[in-house]
Assembly symmetry: C2
Amino acid sequence: MDLDPRKKEVLHAIVDDYVSTFEPVGSKSLIERHGFDVSSATLRNEMADLEHMGFLEKPHTSAGRIPSDKGYREYVDSLMKVEPLSRKEQAKIEENIKASVGELGDLIKSAADTLSQATGFVSLTCSPRLKKSYLTQLKILMIEPGKALVVVVLSAGVVKDKLVRIPNFITDKQIYDISNAIEKNITGKPLDEITLITVSSALKGGSDIPDSLLNQVLYEAYAAIKQADRMDVYLEGSHRMLSLPDFSSMGRATQLLGSLADDGMVAGYLNEMEAQDKSNQDSYMIRIGQEITLEGFDDCSFITTTYNMGDGVQGNIGVIGPKRMEYSKVISQIDFVKKNLDEQIKIINE
Amino acid sequence: MDLDPRKKEVLHAIVDDYVSTFEPVGSKSLIERHGFDVSSATLRNEMADLEHMGFLEKPHTSAGRIPSDKGYREYVDSLMKVEPLSRKEQAKIEENIKASVGELGDLIKSAADTLSQATGFVSLTCSPRLKKSYLTQLKILMIEPGKALVVVVLSAGVVKDKLVRIPNFITDKQIYDISNAIEKNITGKPLDEITLITVSSALKGGSDIPDSLLNQVLYEAYAAIKQADRMDVYLEGSHRMLSLPDFSSMGRATQLLGSLADDGMVAGYLNEMEAQDKSNQDSYMIRIGQEITLEGFDDCSFITTTYNMGDGVQGNIGVIGPKRMEYSKVISQIDFVKKNLDEQIKIINE
DNA sequence: TTTGGCACTCGATGAGTGAGAGTGCTAATT
DNA sequence: AATTAGCACTCTCACTCATCGAGTGCCAAA
């Protein structure tokens, strides 16, 4: 399975060339650009070998070669070297991210925007899965008769809330009591162990509210808690894909943007990816071309990593770009954005 | 300025034809499709007149005519008849909107999605301008030391909140007192009359917290209040524009989607439109082609109307589509969605 | 194992062509 | 004065055809 050193060099060169020119690379231009010390015929033979092994493809009988998915995979796994960004690029990213003010949500959005702008591709962020995080506070706040705000505070300082309807004549005081009772009941429990029964237990009968009404409130509180682990996916910069030569055909572009519009689908796939790569947590997840099992992403690659919100709570951040991309550069861009994001989150959380 | 009846008929027919075929319409096909009782030569004369008057344009010397912006404007203002949707379409829209559960935000999103799907264009919603609505409640909720949630309740039952940082050693009780004091101070005031001074007045010195710390809390509360009237624009279905023949050239499509990606720009323009049309509140605002002063929307039209959240608080909902659209149909679609949305909002608010 | 040489393939480019749809104008008709 | 028939003209679109150039595969020689 391992390639001899020259084949590696050739594959490396071809990927580099193809990525930067977007044109099938032929034996001759390969010699011109890289200083190979052999004739074009020799390279042709090597290239034919690489093709048989599945690392290269020919678009037409008589065109140069382009990397196959397997070729990109080999490149990513063992050929490329990730080099750090230039000072300039670093500065730009830092500046952008630091410019965002205030809330966590804004910060993450800002990181995504920055990443999309830096790469020129679509950036993707996904809020952390919170199933395993535990509940530290639950408050129900009366807004007006019949309406209340349920505030759920989770470990890692995540705050979610939901506006709910409650029976009209429940009073401020009653809500306050219910809220305290629920809180006492489930504080410290991981989110995915909380059920409607856990929420309600040891609560009924203890107050002056009829069970049927109490149940309604309990249910709403429960729903609010459950909703807290809703995964929010944010895709930014889809329109940038249109400017890429890779998607200059209307058909491909339409299909891609259509798929990107369905962020639920992307979220689902992210989950799947994470399940597969559970081992190398904290590192990069990369999917190239047809490795992506979603419709319409044949010419794309996903690269994601995780950002940290403390207490082991992690979200995803990454890029969806053409599979013909400068992997090493994009990876270091993601990496740098991630680091900045982690830092800023730490600052927000103290 | 008014056209004689036959010219009106001709313009009407041309717009109809062009909208449905997307091909410049010529004198002959006009006779075939519509039962004009004159010869093609007569129509040619009429068409030449209409062109001189600015209602029609020729893409090339020897092609049929297409409506100019002015032509569409005339069509929209005085020629077309808005007809109600078919039962089927109505049912579909109703179903979609009713399927959305729970919160106001979800409901509006759902309305936008429905509208985009129904029209095949981009739908646009904009949260209400809240400057004129008044504050009914303000609560500050301690989340953990150094972190609090400011909940702002406005008239019409709008609830906004913001997570803020506060000095570490401020206690639950202190926050509670501050919160009450502020609330007492500014309840009932319109949002745009609230200043940092209003928030702070009559508060300092009354507590055991040093002024500098108190100021920090007050500022955060103030910022949370001010943020409540942030206009949220939501654009849905940009990708659908790619399927339209109007944007089948990559250049136009790229430009359009690029402009659509900047929702701040759209929000700003909406504001502008509203200022212009202040008179006919509650009705439709329509901008056609170059009437839109934004870059990149030359081939588009905006149609928006308002939805009601009670207490005179209104948001915008509408469509951005190709100017070559079935105006009467799209208007009734928007109208129907708006009606359903209004209804559902009423239900949510009781 | 490498290399030079050669025949072959295939896509891109550009020119030329004819068909088709539509126009504007003029002169005759109503 | 309005309408119509007729005709020359214009312009796009689709099609064909030839050519060019980059690249390949393979064979025989080094």
